[in-house]
Assembly symmetry: C2
Homo-oligomer: 239 residues x 2
């Protein structure tokens, strides 16, 4: 049995210009790994209509789940909802339940639900809303695409709303051995180990810091007995 | 005159599993912005042959420059060089100049240039080497694709070797105004400003921290006079 697969689409000029360092991808990667959903690909695209539509098409047909972050606020550069509607060939309009959520929120705040804010109640036809306990304006799900905000605190709250509704797989277990030897010295035996345990993923991640170099060898798999067995052999190799 | 475009391809299971937080993308984004090269898309894929080949194809035909990081070490999971060769339909073999670099390096270290290390001298036919002053094993360029290491110190050194050889454009200038008002309040006037300065990119990046919320409005463009003019109007709007 294989785990469900996932992709993430990050929408935002500010990541690509180097102004902001993305935090959502790293967060989502860790959450999905815990639930046995394999994050297989991430794309980051600018706030450009056709780029977003193209990426949504490609990813939603290639993977079981797609998660997007960014571009669902009230300003002119927030174009994600329209792009999702176009990608799935559905209409988009202000939806009553989303409008009611916003109306109640801005009433409590004593702010006006103006035209800009009302844009956040525009939801593609047939979507399911994703709860946003932080700032109320909802995310939404269309088919296998979960559309969430870019602000990290809001993104994380939406992830917490969505993930319990998805069926995951066996959580990915991982064990790491830190070896203070050059990768070139360990590569031969490591390749043999990887062949003997071809049901596991065995990765070597070199480091080099303050004159110390070596590699972290990471063994990953969902069968704990196999991971243990491979780690025992690995430890013996480089004892 | 428009700036050259670029994409980045990050190769590595360790980013997708959440084990490691990528640092190379943020670094490259900043370096490219300084040189007037527009980073338009980033993809992160696992160490899977066909995924890498597919992404290299797609990105190298869509953008002027492609930069890859990861997967060029000596271990069994380092498959980037072979994938690049396949993507461009060229052969790959140990190359004399790359072997000589490694031989001299390991001689100095008193280590052996074994079969695993020699894999790092396998270079696709017709490639140009990229200098690696940190750990010697070179990167390489095939057509418009620059193939670099994943270890951040090595990646950065290779970027420093490559970038001076590329023709950039006008550096992207940016000015930011921090506004402590909800995006919903500023969205209307901001959209009008964006329309009046359609030659510039005007982005709104909301924040929410410790009960304070607002947005950073970022105006970007390569014409300093226009950026100044837009910022003057923006400051007047939200004074």
């Amino acid at each position: 049995m294989t785990n469900p697969t996932a992709a993430m689409l990050v929408i935002g000029d500010e990541i690509l210009s180097g102004r902001t360092r993305d935090a959502n991808m790293h967060y989502l990667a860790q959450e999905l790994t815990k639930r046995g959903i394999d994050l297989c690909e991430v794309r980051i695209v600018a706030d450009v209509h056709e780029k977003i539509v193209h990426a949504v098409h490609a990813l939603s047909s290639d993977y079981d789940f797609v998660f997007t972050s960014g571009g669902i606020g009230p300003t002119h550069d927030d174009i994600t909802a329209d792009c999702i509607a176009e990608a799935f060939g559905v209409s988009i309009d202000v939806r009553d339940d989303a409008r009611a959520l916003l109306q109640a929120h801005y009433d409590r705040q004593g702010s006006e639900l103006n035209a800009a804010r009302l844009r956040m109640a525009r939801i593609p036809a047939g979507a399911t809303l994703i709860e946003n306990p932080v700032s109320i304006a909802p995310g939404f799900t269309v088919e296998n695409v979960h559309v969430m905000a870019g602000v990290p605190s809001v993104f994380q709250a939406m992830v917490a709303s969505v993930l319990p509704t998805l069926t995951g797989g066996a959580p990915l277990l991982s064990q790491t051995l830190r070896v203070q030897r050059g990768e070139g010295d360990i590569a031969g035996p490591l390749a043999e180990l990887a062949e003997a345990f071809s049901d596991l993923s065995i990765g070597s991640y070199p480091f080099q810091k303050d004159g110390v170099y070596g590699a972290n060898i990471v063994i990953r798999g969902s069968d704990g007995v196999r991971v243990d067995a491979a780690m025992a052999q690995l430890a013996e190799m480089f004892a």
